[in-house]
């Protein structure tokens, strides 16, 4: 892991500061997370991936792909699990690891059958998208947005989930020149 990620995040004092920030805010976004060369390699693999469209108009519209081997290897490594656990204070055991792509006209909607969970989300973005283009992830509680994750290329974001918290990806509008492509996973 040390050769693939930004060294800054591995220093003991940085980990302490990240843990404090996560405890205080319930989320943390770590920009420039991978080394530039490894990020470029991952991005190239993702762009070659075969995406499958998922469309139920009153629920969601996006595409999904399997996670490329080199990224999966990093995210499922013991070192990565230890790193994330040291920030959030809970052992990492990733579920539902997948790559999602939201292009123009894609979205997810909140609905009655959507269930919240107590745990954590992990998001890793491949493109930077301006907020005005949509495509951000909004976390809501009691109908109010509590956290908004705006995609930044090569940023790892960790979010604490509560059972009464739901999330959606805002409709990507025609201003966006890029798709929002990101890894999403969660654990309880």
């Amino acid at each position: 892991m040390a050769s693939l990620t930004n060294q800054v995040y591995l220093a003991e004092e940085t980990i302490t500061a990240m843990r404090d920030e996560f405890l205080k805010n319930g989320f943390i976004q770590l920009s420039d997370f991978l080394t530039q060369s490894f990020f470029s390699q991952c991005l190239a693999s993702v762009q070659k991936s075969s995406f499958t469209k998922k469309y139920v108009p009153d629920r969601f519209s996006f595409s999904e792909a399997k996670i490329p081997a080199e990224i999966s290897k990093l995210l499922t490594s013991k070192q990565f699990a230890d790193f994330v656990s040291s920030i959030v204070g809970k052992k990492l055991s990733l579920k539902n690891l997948k790559i999602l792509s939201f292009s123009h006209k894609d979205y997810t909607l909140l609905h009655d059958n959507l269930k919240g969970y107590s745990g954590f989300d992990l998001v890793f973005d491949f493109n930077t998208i301006d907020e005005s283009c949509g495509g951000f992830t909004s976390y809501v509680r009691n109908g109010q947005e509590v956290v908004r994750i705006v995609p930044i290329a090569n940023a790892l974001t960790l979010i604490k989930r509560r059972k009464d918290m739901l999330s959606f990806v805002k409709y990507v509008n025609h201003r966006s020149e890029k798709s929002r492509i990101f890894i999403h996973s969660n654990w309880c």
Binding site: P57, D58, K105, Y107, L109, L110, N173, H174
Partner: protein, 202 residues
């Protein structure tokens, strides 16, 4: 009162009823060139002067201004609201849609560039008939902003089967049901997409 607001061609209600119920994918109709041209111009001008509030959620992005009998000080909008909630007009809507309606709610909407309203069925207690009064001018295909209707399978929307450009001075009506999935396509230009919309309640 009806004759003052509605074009005379729409006072032959029997024909309209036939066109309404049989329209697919769910009962709806578009009444073109519906209101008295002068009155609807005044309504549009008055709406443009109202205060709109930005509304954003997972489902939509647009500007809205609620209108009830006391909220607007503008006499044109007060008269428009009174006409919409008048016994004569409610009776007209009941005959067109073959559904008994007895009250309304009404909001003004303005969709700006990239604004949208995604797929939903409008169901909420009391809502019988949904309506849209289009006050948009000069929208063409490339401007987006169409009202699109979905086909459903087991009451789940599957695909868009009909789309209507928002044409000035049209009244759009549809029956709210488990099948009435629709959306306002994203507006793709800086032209404002203006309308009044709401529901006739049972």
């Amino acid at each position: 009162m009806l004759g003052a607001w509605i074009q005379s061609k729409y006072l032959k209600q029997k024909d309209l009823k036939v066109k309404y119920s049989s329209n697919q994918p769910f009962p709806h109709t578009v009444l073109r060139d519906f209101f008295n041209p002068q009155k609807i111009e005044w309504v549009r001008s008055a709406l443009l002067k109202e205060k709109f509030v930005r509304k954003e959620s997972d489902l939509f992005s647009f500007y809205q201004t609620r209108l009830d009998s006391s909220s607007s000080k503008n006499p044109v909008l007060k008269e428009f609201h009174s006409f919409f909630s008048s016994k004569e007009f409610l009776s007209f809507i009941s005959k067109v849609t073959n559904t008994r309606v007895s009250s309304i709610d009404m909001s003004g909407f303005c969709y700006g560039n990239a604004d949208h309203l995604l797929s939903h069925d409008d169901r909420l207690e009391g809502r019988k008939i949904a309506y849209v009064v289009n006050l948009t001018k000069d929208f063409t295909e490339k401007d987006g902003g169409k009202l699109s209707l979905f086909e459903t399978k087991n009451n789940t929307p599957t695909k868009i089967v009909k789309s209507y450009l928002p044409t000035f001075n049209t009244l759009f009506l549809f029956t709210v049901s488990k099948k009435s999935f629709h959306q306002v396509d994203e507006v793709l230009s800086p032209k404002p997409r203006l309308s009044f919309g709401g529901w006739f309640h049972g």
